[in-house]
């Protein structure tokens, strides 16, 4: 009886429901538009424009891409390699570095924590970072340009994992392992890693998403088409579309229209690039929310 809603509460509940539903629709409709366009017959797409439901249904864009799979397959392979390799290496380095910082018996922990933390407060800016990676490490037009700059290890994650070790793993457990004669590496591998799976899952997820979605490293460091990731391929196609548009407007420059896939195919590539995220999203959704909360509450 206690929780029975009064009249005004019922109205408010309905109003809230309508607002939430409308906002969810607002978030989803644009994605639906692209999905629909990728499934529309090209002629119909040109005649009727993009619609939320295909005016004439067709799988042509996807069958075309399947036949052209070499182009997109390569880019896909690069995206997958960069995402897996970058995430695995980055997470390994992160959780390893967090361990000493969580040990109170490590005399230098405050110094190292500060050195790491300081990188969150101050940075040298894009230009000097670009100079370091290109002039000292000559990373331009190598696959490592997609892996190393910016995303590999972040101070924020190191501190997140360090806090997790400190707050969620009893110090007595570490002491007991020490008494049993375990080395620090053994304690890390056999005690810390198995007991900190939740936080490892969180940072792995954010790192994987960052790598899969990244296009800025490629924008700065890659201009060889063989090294384009899916996002870079999409970026390149769109730049050609814009180039064609300006060229048409000025009636001067000739752009090879054959380089530009049709409307439907472009949208199909975008959907294929989005596919891995759509597949894992239902699984990681809860983790994602949890991660945002931990991240915001305790940095």
């Amino acid at each position: 009886m206690k929780n029975k809603k009064r009249g005004n509460e019922k109205v408010f509940f309905i109003v809230a429901g309508v607002i939430v539903a409308l906002f969810a629709l607002f978030c989803f409709m644009p994605i639906l538009l692209v999905i629909s366009a990728s499934l529309t017959d090209e002629q119909a797409l040109i005649a009727d424009g993009y619609r939320f439901l295909p005016s004439k249904f067709s799988f042509d864009a996807y069958t075309y891409l399947w036949r052209q799979h070499l182009m997109i397959g390569r880019a896909y392979g690069i995206s997958l390699f960069v995402s897996f390799f970058g995430t695995a290496l980055g997470v390994a380095i992160t959780i390893l570095a967090s361990y000493p910082l969580s040990r109170t018996s490590f005399r230098w922990r405050n110094l190292f924590t500060f050195i790491i933390f300081f990188t969150m407060l101050f940075n040298g800016g894009v230009v000097s970072s670009y100079m370091v990676w290109t002039r000292i490490f000559h990373i331009k037009n190598t696959i490592w340009a997609l892996v190393f700059p910016n995303y590999l290890v972040g101070a924020f994650n190191i501190i997140l994992v360090k806090n997790y070790y400190q707050n969620n793993i009893p110090a007595a457990l570490v002491e007991a392992a020490k008494l049993d004669g375990a080395t620090e590496f053994q304690i890390f591998r056999k005690v810390m890693v198995p007991l900190s799976k939740p936080v490892i899952v969180t940072i792995t997820m954010f790192s994987g998403l960052a790598y899969w979605n990244d296009w800025t490293n490629g924008l700065y460091y890659i201009n060889k088409k063989e090294l384009f990731s899916v996002q870079l391929m999409l970026n390149e196609i769109q730049q050609n579309v814009m180039l064609l548009r300006t060229a048409n407007e000025r009636m001067g420059i000739a752009v090879n229209q054959a380089d530009i896939p049709s409307n439907g195919v472009r949208m199909a590539i975008a959907i294929i690039a989005l596919l891995p995220i759509m597949i894992i999203f239902p699984i990681i959704q809860k983790e994602l929310i949890k991660g945002v909360v931990i991240g915001a509450v305790k940095g």
């Binding site: 700065y220 730049q239 994602l288």
Partner: protein, 301 residues
């Protein structure tokens, strides 16, 4: 004797820290020292170290250009707009989601409103293009019918377009943090108010919103500390790097990219990027001081 023993004990710890330290040295500390580039007149023949010192000349030149005014106005303007709208909309959405509770609607809606945030900006640009291109775009073809607008060459529309895209992308994600604050509010407070005859709306305005205030204040301060930064993807990718739109889409971040990569003007781009990081540093320190005063538990350091 004791000291030596300690050092030996610390060796495994140093080894564990080594990879991360090397990476941060290269990725963060080298660039910090690279700031000197902004004070040089870079000449590749002489090398970066051998180039002549320019003092503050690069900064003087930068701030004399028309670009400087435009990018500063845009960066600050969009940030203020996004902070205000972001707070109002995210808090409203969080409250509404909380009202809907654990219903079927909430289970469907929550994933949908978070999803735009985990899409890459390149794909966001495709989505926007699907609405706005003059030949086949949804808006031009279905709504405007015979009077298409060349969106990508008309700067005046972009403050609205970019704001809508930002709301679409960031509101749901932003609401997560407020929802977790709301979840932390003691339910007995509402119950007590309810017994006193307060309507739900009154409970929200007199209990929920006042209790959300500390979270809001912290979020605003954090956002202000990043007020000279902009989302490079939003301002570069969504307007498709269209030169005709610079007046309303150029921010410090897009300027740095264009000056460095498209104009090869290292002086200007490094001046802009160093200006951004130094001001950012000062603002982070200040914001942290203020947060520490408001709520010591939530200070950054």
């Amino acid at each position: 004797m004791k000291k030596k023993h300690n050092l030996k004990r610390d060796i495994p710890f140093f080894i564990m820290l080594l990879p991360a330290m090397i990476y941060l040295l290269i990725n963060s500390y080298f660039p910090m020292f690279g700031i000197f580039i902004a004070f040089k007149n870079i000449n590749y023949q002489k090398g970066i170290f051998g180039s002549d010192w320019a003092g503050f000349k690069n900064f003087e030149f930068l701030f004399k250009t028309k670009d400087a005014g435009i990018m500063l106005r845009n960066t600050l303007g969009y940030n203020v707009l996004f902070i205000v709208l972001g707070i109002v909309l995210s808090v409203t959405l969080a409250i509404m989601l909380n009202e809907v509770g654990r219903t079927f609607l909430a289970k469907i809606a929550q994933p949908l409103i978070i999803f735009p945030n985990i899409i890459s900006m390149v794909i966001v640009a495709y989505i926007v293009f699907a609405f706005l291109n003059a030949q086949t775009g949804f808006i031009d073809k279905t709504i405007l019918k015979n009077m298409p607008i060349s969106w990508y060459s008309e700067p005046k529309y972009w403050p609205v377009i970019l704001t809508i895209v930002n709301i679409w992308r960031a509101t749901g994600y932003g609401s997560i943090i407020y929802m977790s604050s709301i979840a932390g509010i003691d339910a007995e407070l509402y119950e007590a108010a309810r017994v006193d005859g307060a309507t739900r709306l009154q409970q929200i305005f007199h209990i929920m919103i006042p209790l959300l205030k500390p979270t809001v204040v912290i979020m605003v301060l954090m956002a202000i500390s990043k007020i000279f930064n902009s989302d490079f993807g939003l301002f570069y990718q969504v307007p498709m790097n269209s030169g005709a739109l610079y007046n309303t889409t150029q921010t410090i971040d897009t300027y740095v990219y264009r000056a460095l990569m498209e104009l090869s003007d290292i002086g200007m781009s490094s001046a802009a990027s160093v200006f951004q990081s130094v001001v950012g540093f000062v603002l982070v320190l200040t914001a942290n001081k203020v947060v520490a005063k408001v709520d010591a538990d939530n200070r950054l350091f």
